[in-house]
């Protein structure tokens, strides 16, 4: 039998099977950042004056900030002048003209993940119109949504078509000055999604980038704004389990959710950006500010994330439980392999009365990966009868990785109940032996155990997404054939 050590070596040697290089030229701004860059982006996008002012204000503030250094992350200095802040959308003639021109390995991965055929083409960057009529697919859904009054479009479109809504809510959850990366994003954001669910409407379908075809290439400074009016209900799926084409080193996205009275927003993410190679070279730096404001009574927001990609992840999807009887949830699976680092968690800010929050996180470290949970549960003075339950579990695979847990619990109200638990485990030799003794192969045993470990989180994902997320974890841990 192969020894435990070599099993783990193989296990952690699983390659990122999704990366590929593209030399297609793009038009856009040359690298560099100053006030004129911000003005140029705004001009390219033909934005109104108020938005330009907003961007400039953000830029001026950003100049006064320094990058945060409190996370347990080993970050190479980022040269903000070496980044190009605006790339024009690609021309169809520059894209692969059919799936035959796409790297077969990439297609194989799509196959494994069960990505629908037409979606594969879009993800691989094939000029979509050459393959199928994406516009009509997009418009079909748009029509169906429009019938119930749901607005779902790119951020740029929203600025043009719904300026009042954008102006009212933009920056109302994550202020311009919130943090270094959010501030940068406010100055230079390229595009993103905009979602508005009117009063009393239950969104008839899950909204995902799949349907948002014309906003597929949002670049590295994405900005998302979702507004759920009173009594409305929406489930939003971000990203895709399949690899996204991306050559950018730095991502700094901002996501703002506004939930009004009794509204419910479910936001699911599967993040699978390029993690760098097995020596820790390359990979995406992912700095994301995600925050939900349960602004009025009875609102509920549920975050679910599966983070398997990026060289470095800095991300704390949070809930401000401002209204009475509001609820925040955070479910997370984060996997770090090779030299990946993740410092991720959540903030649950209890301000209203009778607020509830629940945090379930599963961190898996393999290779030289470093996985940190960092979370804040804050119960304010007036947050009577607040309740929080937190469970943070870590799993270590191999002897060269790390798992860290930093929970901050601050309670100022004597009727609050807060519970936090954390455990650390490994894939035990005895568990593996037990599975093998029953005839189950080692690779299956490992994925079965990891899947069992993550079950509580996968359960929260929309069904199709859960299947893909499972497959993704398996791929990320592949190579453990005993």
């Amino acid at each position: 039998m192969s020894s435990e050590a070599s099993q783990f070596d193989q296990l952690v040697a699983a390659k990122y099977k999704h990366g590929f290089v593209t030399d297609i030229e793009t038009e856009g701004l040359p690298p560099g950042l100053d006030e004129s860059t911000v003005r140029a982006i705004s001009a390219f996008k033909e934005e109104p004056e108020w938005l330009l002012e907003w961007r400039l204000q953000a830029y001026q503030h950003w100049l006064t900030l320094t990058p945060p250094n409190w996370a347990k992350l080993d970050i190479l200095p980022i040269d903000f002048q070496a980044i190009s802040y605006y790339a024009a959308p690609k021309q169809d003639k520059d894209r692969p003209q059919s799936l035959d021109e796409v790297d077969p390995k990439l297609l194989e991965t799509y196959e494994k993940l069960g990505v629908p055929l037409h979606e594969r083409a879009r993800l691989a960057g094939v000029a979509v119109d050459a393959v199928f009529d994406s516009v009509s697919v997009g418009t079909t859904f748009k029509k169906e949504l429009a019938e119930v009054g749901v607005i779902f479009c790119s951020f740029s479109e929203a600025v043009k078509d719904h300026p009042q809504l954008v102006r009212q809510y933009l920056g109302s959850v994550v202020p311009v000055s919130d943090n270094y990366f959010a501030c940068l994003n406010s100055a230079v954001f390229s595009d993103g999604s905009f979602c508005f669910i009117p009063k009393g409407v239950r969104c008839p379908m899950e909204l995902s980038t799949y349907f948002r075809i014309n906003a597929a290439e949002t670049g590295q400074f994405e900005r998302t704004l979702i507004i759920a009016e009173e009594g409305s209900h929406v489930s939003y799926l971000e990203g895709c389990t399949a690899p996204m084409r991306d050559e950018n080193q730095l991502h700094a996205a901002v996501v703002e959710l506004v939930a009004l009275k009794d509204a419910f927003i479910k936001y699911s993410t599967v993040q699978n950006w390029y993690p760098g190679d097995e020596n820790g070279v390359g990979g995406i730096y992912n700095f994301v500010t995600k925050r939900a404001d349960c602004r009025e009574d009875g609102a509920k927001v549920s975050w679910t994330q599966v983070e398997t990609g990026s060289a470095l992840t800095w991300k704390y999807p949070s809930c401000v439980l401002r209204g009475d009887n509001t609820t925040g949830e955070f479910y997370s699976v984060a996997l770090t392999n090779n030299y990946q680092q993740a410092d991720t968690g959540t903030k649950m800010i209890h301000l209203g009365k009778n607020t509830r929050s629940k945090i379930i996180t599963k961190g898996i470290s393999a290779g030289h990966g470093q996985n940190t949970y960092r979370g804040l549960v804050h119960v304010g003075k007036n947050a009577a009868d607040a309740r929080n339950y937190t469970q943070c579990d870590s799993m270590l695979i191999g002897k060269t990785c790390g798992a860290h847990t930093f929970p901050y619990i601050e309670v100022k109200n004597p009727t609050a109940k807060v519970e936090h638990e954390a455990t650390t485990s490994k894939i035990g030799e005895d568990q593996l032996f037990y599975c093998l003794q029953r005839g189950i192969s080692e690779e299956d045993a490992v994925s079965m155990i990891v899947d069992g470990f993550c079950k509580e989180v996968f359960r929260e994902l929309p069904m199709e997404f859960a299947v893909e997320a499972k497959a993704l974890l398996e791929i990320s841990l592949e190579g453990a054939v005993g």
């Binding site: 030799e429 568990q431 037990y434 093998l436 029953r438 005839g439 189950i440 069992g452």
Partner: protein, 258 residues
Amino acid sequence: MSMILEVKDLYATVEGKEILKGLNLTLKAGEVHAIMGPNGAGKSTLGNIIAGRDGYEVTSGEVLFKGKNILELDTEERACEGVFLAFQYPVEIPGVNNTYFLRAALNAQRKYRGEPPMDAATFLRLVRKKLKVLDLKDDLLKRAVNAGFSGGEKKRNEIFQMAVLEPTLAILDETDSGLDIDALRAVANGVNALRGADRAMLVITHYQRLLDHIVPDVVHVLADGRIARSGGPELALILEEKGYAWLQENDSVAVENS
């Protein structure tokens, strides 16, 4: 009767320490053998070596299963060949559903034998039938593998798995430890229901009481790494009465039977 297990002059070490010192043992189809012995005699080591646990090194001798040298096989291959070890300490696997686990195991074994996988509906029927035979509750199927089970539930779950997987050789490692008398009876009933002409069982135990319920054909006494004595069920009673110290005093008397 065909030969199921032949252990020939087996020497084995654990962490450099010699535990088995020339052990011989033969099981034929349809037989139930009990292995008794004082703590540290090497009882569990024997079970773990047959099943193929890491860290147990065979220094000489052989173990034949249905005439085949199984020491060359991986743990899961041995399982697929029909070797089942009921663990002394069944392992907890949180989050992995018991039914799912068992179906994965059964289908892995079927695949090994070149049979098609069993579909979910057929499997569920099979499982419910076995539950009934073993007088187990349905909710066992919904829970995670051994997670949060009581000691008795874990042991019953082992027997239940054995019933579904239908091994050729079942090794029961201290299946009686930590059980109260009711649980013991339930486990024994389960085991007895699985006795059959094609199957051999090796019951490893420290105490005689299990053998009141699972009556063996042969009792072996394992002491200091080898079989010190073999006999009929009455040997267990003598041991119970006189203790293992009696062995040393009567070292010269050999009781052969088998």
